[in-house]
Amino acid sequence: MTANLADPAVTPEELRRPDDDTPEPRAARWRWPLTPKMFIVAGVAAAIGYLALVPLGYLIWGTFFDAQGLDLGSFQRAYGDGRMGELWGNSLAFAGGAALLSITVGTTLAYLNVRTAVPFKALFFAASIVPLIVPGILYTVSWIFLASPQIGLLNAFLEPIFGAAPFNIFTIWGMIWVEGLHSSPIVFLLMVAAFRSMDPSLEESALMSGASRMQTLRKVTLPLVRPALLSSILVILITSLESFEVPALLGLQNGIYVFTSRIYFVLRSYPQDLGAAGALAVSLLAVAVIGVAVTRLLAGKGSKTYQTVTGKGFRPRPLDLGKWKPVVGVGILFYFFVTVVGPLLVLLYAALLPFYQAPSWEAFASFTFDNFAQVFEMNSAARALKNSLILGLSSAAIVMSLMAVAAWISVRSTIPGRGIVEQLSFVPLVIPGIVLGLSISFVYLRFPLPIYGTILILLIAYCTKYMPYGMRYASTSMTQISAELEESAMVSGASWWTTFRRVLLPLLSPGITAGFIYILVVSFRELSSSILLYSPGNEVLSILIWEQFENGSFNVLAAIGVLMVLALMFMVTVAYKLGAKVGLRED
């Protein structure tokens, strides 16, 4: 729309926000240090710095130093593997493919959900989140039951038409398919927030000027949501590079190794080689720092580029699909059948069986509720559910409130070093869960207040872990809100805090709601740091799930998965309805 980044004539200096050149009014405000604004901004920045630097310091210390001083041996141990090139090649192909798939799927679904008149919006919304709710291992194993060449149900159904085993889930394509679908809700939520804050008059103008629908989509709609797209790509690339569940269950079967398999091996020996794991994480850190810098640069070029929420009132009006309605309807149904209903049915089927077997009358005859009964009989199931709920709701609320302010600092303020806040908030994304857990317990075992051994330590871990996602959601929404709204409020005499509360927060609500839902859902299955930090009495649901994986029954696990989907779908629908009541309203 404006200057092209790839154009070498455009220097970073030219891409600066115009505000930078005219610092007078804001800089002047900064000379009064004792305003509530100063306290809030400084407090949030300090909180982010603290949360990010504890694990980062621990990671860097463990990676670069040992008892004797600087030591780079961990890099040798981590990267000294002859197959490292192959591992990275597989990892990049896997992460790239998964990012592409999840972005296509997530964006399309979000567009249809927000901008078109599809029926059953709340149900559509909840269904789009389902792959996120189901724990990765369960979702992956469901796909094995669907598309394995040996036992896949889809393969058995389609064999008469396409010949033996048309699908093979144990390939890089299968890995991309499962990871891409499993990650698509992250993109979906980010894009829903972006589309909800978009002024449809821009698209209407394009259509009026004779552009076709495709042209409008390509030239107007998608460029306007570029910050959200970039955030999605960045998050999915990094999480897929880190993911080990899907590669371990699908790739290893046929010898497709990724670089996280190195992390698995260096962490499973005693003493755990955290240095080598850290050395591997350092390369992800580099990817993340560059990625955040690039998104800042792009979002920063001409700050008005993406500001669709302006002083000009608008109501996002859903697009009538016209003659395409049946086609889109069938497409959506097909998509949900394949990605949501299929795996869920398999899970439900497994949850009703004493052991997995191919569907037959005999299998149906052996249906039982024993697995569900076992879940309810677990000693700590009720307590774990309560703790998970408390932690999920409070970490989502805390992270999103902190990040709303942080997004203002990063996107809107002229405070020196504001870019650092965004960079720091992203750091926990690349810290392996076990390192996060170890660093937090290391600190709080030596902390004067009794936080170790309480549920608070889990809350701190969750806030740290989900801060990066919260920041992506909040800052993406913030780039869409025009500065003129804030300025008008200030001119009319509102204080910064009033403006923030009464103007910005309601306008940010699409991003805040999406981030809240995301954190609530994924916090239910956080395991890697919870397992080190929980104490008797503070069990969370993921610990019970882990126990079933360690030595239990896959079928009980499937029952837990089904219950989680039901409970979280209900909560997501409530959150969606509540979120829709605040801020921008649709017609």
């Binding site: 310091g57 036992i151 046929n254 010898g255 077997q357 030595n551």
Partner: protein, 378 residues
């Protein structure tokens, strides 16, 4: 602008480094353990109690122990045992003691107890996990010897270490799907499973380094194979294999028919599934299962800094008495001599814990390479 953003980053990182430096290297291998431990009030009191109980025997010991344990009224168990709920229920039925359980993977429980020890936070009364992790805890000086007549009745390989006592054994067996492997065609040896007729029908598990190391010692030290012969056989076995991660998932896929044979299943995983009706087995109707069966003890140790030393000792007693029945119900193999043991008369081979502890990287790497190289073969 660029410099403005760089300066705070550098200074913040520096602050972080300094802060963590003050606490000593956090991720370095634990050295001498907590220095304050030996002189702590917790350790002094617990050791005194342990010595007193260890010095008693017969009914006098039992009476004294139960009275003292119920007075303490609480017990903190750190464990990786997933059947702990049932054990605790049975224990609490017998005694008026409130049991709290911290349970995680064996590596995590070990990390937890070591980290707490270094910080002078003493949360555990007993430590119950795999032999390897118990060995580390003993080496670090965290455990205190448990003595009783019960310990003397534990099978010999389960009471070699002074600091902990075996309560049960994990047995790695070759399991198969009985629908896919008809009677009479069951595998008879690892060598056979490395032959071409098993191509694509076998499954190995990604993390079973201990099983791999045990078979290495069996074939090389006992059977006189060369190093190369063993690696060659394992590589061919891997080339026949689909690699799974996690024994529970592997067991489920075996009963679902994703592969015909799993070479390193746990006997209790197979036995439990078979009891539920799944088409899996590790012992043929006629003839013998694949041997040797690799066994690895799991056990329990008294923690030197326990705040409830009597309850801790009573719990160890319980695991070696009533607990043995709970294990059997869960298809586990108990450690007390003479208990009904499905492995009696079969050829067993122990996991070489010490070797694994001394040089874990070499063994991890060797197994990782064998699996990857095997899979790369066509």
């Amino acid at each position: 602008m660029r410099n403005r953003t760089l300066v705070p980053l550098v200074s913040l990182t520096a602050v972080a480094l300094v802060t963590s430096a003050c606490g000593g290297p956090p991720t370095a291998a634990p050295e001498a353990g907590g220095n304050d431990r030996e002189s702590s009030a917790e350790a002094t009191a617990a050791v005194e109690t342990y010595d007193r109980i260890n010095g008693l025997s017969g009914q006098e010991r039992t009476d004294e122990l139960v009275a003292c344990a119920e007075e303490e009224g609480e017990l903190n168990v750190y464990t990786s045992n997933t059947d702990m709920d049932d054990l605790v229920d049975a224990f609490q039925d017998l005694y008026d003691i409130d049991v709290s359980v911290y349970r995680a993977g064996s590596e995590s429980v070990l990390q937890r107890i070591l980290q707490e020890d270094k910080a002078g936070y003493y949360g555990a009364d007993v430590f119950e996990t795999n032999a390897l992790e118990l060995g580390v805890a003993e080496q670090e000086g965290l455990l205190y010897p448990y003595k009783s007549e019960l310990r003397d009745s534990v099978q010999e390989e389960g009471r070699e270490a002074e600091g902990w006592t075996a309560t049960r054994f994990n047995a790695f067996v070759v399991g198969w799907n009985t629908d896919l492997v008809p009677p009479g065609q069951e595998p008879t040896s690892f060598e056979e499973l490395a032959e071409p007729q098993w191509k694509g029908r076998v499954s190995m598990e990604l993390g079973d380094v201990d099983w791999f190391a045990a078979l290495h010692d069996y074939y090389v030290d006992e059977q006189g194979w060369t190093e190369d012969e063993y690696i060659d056989m394992m590589t061919r076995l891997a080339s026949n294999s689909q690699v799974a991660k996690g024994h529970t998932t592997q067991g489920e896929l075996l009963s679902a028919g994703q592969f015909d044979v799993a070479v390193s299943s746990y006997s209790h995983t197979i036995d439990k599934a078979a009891a539920g009706g799944a088409p899996v087995a590790w012992r043929p109707a006629n003839g013998e299962p694949v041997q040797p069966i690799v066994v690895r003890p799991n056990g329990i140790g008294l923690v030197k800094t326990a705040t409830n030393p009597c309850a801790a000792t009573l719990f160890v007693d319980f695991e070696l008495t009533g607990g043995q029945e709970v294990f059997a119900e869960k298809f586990r193999i108990g450690s007390i001599e003479g208990t009904e043991n499905p492995l009696t008369e079969l050829d067993r081979f122990p996991v070489p814990e010490e070797k694994l502890l001394e040089d874990p990287d070499t063994w991890n790497k060797a197994y990782e390479d064998v699996v990857a190289n095997g899979q790369a073969l066509e």
